[in-house]
Symmetry: C2
Subunit: 309 residues, 2 copies
């Protein structure tokens, strides 16, 4: 699956993934009003508004980017209707030939991780019939439980040609509380130790020059990105934290390999709610999708100029 | 919420939680056959079989135990129908006055953790209406992202009188890969460092003599349980790994405080699939629910004799 993602990155000339993390407060009032008029103030209304918003956004930028990353929490909070909207979003993006990275951050003990892997990357068997539940191309995985929490996802990568990004160094302010702790035996940190594990796991699912096993490293920590880039040469890095969380184009440089590949940068709010920023205010609320397209083009240019100079 | 759980533990005289982690292979053929006859080999059939199985099990033991712990992965793998069965299981157990611990192991950056907390412990707002999505009493939380991934759950505990159990030392064989690593600065381990954080977080949501912020520590690691019991005196420990994973009654002793409280022990497969074990084979497949009841009674006795002697 990583070779498919690389192919799409090259075709679109954009190592960019748009995070589809819809908060109701991002969605233009016109859309939420219509949804509430139809469904009342209900979970169904929230889900309907999210799906309309996502489709309009995807229509506006699908030709520019290789991938999208829906954050499942933003759908899960609206219960069953929200998760239906997640599935419909995944399907819609797939129809537009976008690679879909499910940001699900699951991870559990062996048999339970296997169930999550079946749910999101593989298939489940009912009698002799194999069925899909959520069906993303990639998903994110939490490494706290160790190899037997991660390997079922790698098995699914191999069986169904899918990929994962393992959390290594997350973009949030308190990520260092645990991840930056220095280890006794080799003077490395927890995030480096996880990076070394990712590099081991990567070998279990190679797909061309890169592995289906990637890593998440926040744009907000470029120096750690540089270290981790070296530790995990075969792993693509999914880089959150660009834009709204503070990461800039220059911060992205260390996340790429010398082949110009090896990283894909996520922006969520900075794209999908661009119309709320001063810079794109001229698009107005009705122009939210065009504002998102403009923000994608600006992000692409920022990366071209600053990350590859 | 922890005071409610303690009250139920005392009333039932059983520090026991039954894990409702239904694998299709556990469910008697009669039930799955009926579900497939009605729905074909579909996600709906799997969900229907799970729900029938769960209800029969709960009917058989609800008077004996204070709590149940449905593992959401086992439902999520069957997509939307599976998650509907999760919600219906939660509702059914609530009607039986059981405390419900959603084993969801979620955890993300701040605003995203807030969405998960709303989904599972709190409410979401659509317009001026507050709605519930999954509505468990407790849920499990992954600490890898640090305080800003955990605090939104604690806020929900305080606002809605709920609780959480933070993963500290998990029961699986490879949990040590990361959790047992020794830290440089104070010669403690990663799991101890997380234990210290749990003890800090516990102070943010006290409810009587214990906190709504508990911890997960596997029965398979009793010596670590002893250390963690001291580090987190105000936190209840949810103890998985008893029974099928190898933990015994004697292993449970260090998890309890001198007040006889402070721990609740989970058994999943050992109860819900008891009829498949030699010991309970006399119940037969049709007697699966009675076998589960017998296994609960045996577990209760094992803990009384071996953990409190």
């Amino acid at each position: 699956m990583i070779s498919k993602l690389i192919d799409r990155i090259k075709k679109k000339d954009a190592p960019i993934v748009v995070g589809l993390d819809p908060m109701l407060s991002y969605i233009p009032k016109k859309i939420t009003d219509e949804a509430v008029a139809q469904h009342g103030e209900s979970l169904e209304a929230a889900a309907d508004a999210i799906l309309r918003y996502n489709k309009a956004l995807v229509d506006a930028f699908y030709d520019l980017v290789p991938a999208v990353k829906p954050q499942i929490a933003m759908y899960e909070q609206f219960g069953i209707p929200g998760l239906k909207a997640f599935i419909e979003t995944v399907d819609y993006c797939r129809q537009k030939d976008l690679v879909v990275i499910g940001d699900i951050k699951r991870g559990d003990i062996g048999s339970t991780s296997a169930a999550y892997a079946s749910a999101h990357l593989g298939k489940v068997e009912v009698g002799s019939t194999k069925l899909t539940a959520f069906d993303e191309d990639f998903c994110t995985v939490n490494p706290y439980l160790g190899s037997d929490g991660v390997k079922p996802f790698i098995d699914a990568c191999n069986e169904y040609d899918r990929g994962i990004f393992v959390l290594v160094k997350t973009s949030n302010p308190s990520s260092g509380e645990l991840q930056d702790r220095v280890l006794h035996d080799e003077d490395s940190t927890v995030y480096e130790a996880v990076g070394f594990k990712v590099n081991e796991w990567a070998k279990l699912s190679m797909d061309g020059t890169y592995s289906n096993v990637g890593a998440v490293v926040g744009a907000t920590y470029p120096k750690m990105g540089e270290i981790l880039r070296r530790i995990m040469p075969k792993s693509f890095i999914l880089v959150p934290g660009y834009g709204a969380q503070g990461g800039t184009g220059k911060d992205l440089k260390p996340f790429f390999n010398s082949d110009g590949l090896g990283a894909i940068v996520n922006s969520s709010r900075g794209i999908i709610a661009a119309y709320k920023k001063d810079k794109y205010a001229n698009f107005g609320e009705d122009g939210f999708a065009d504002a998102a397209r403009a923000a994608v083009l600006d992000m692409k240019e920022d990366i071209r100029v600053n990350a590859f100079s």
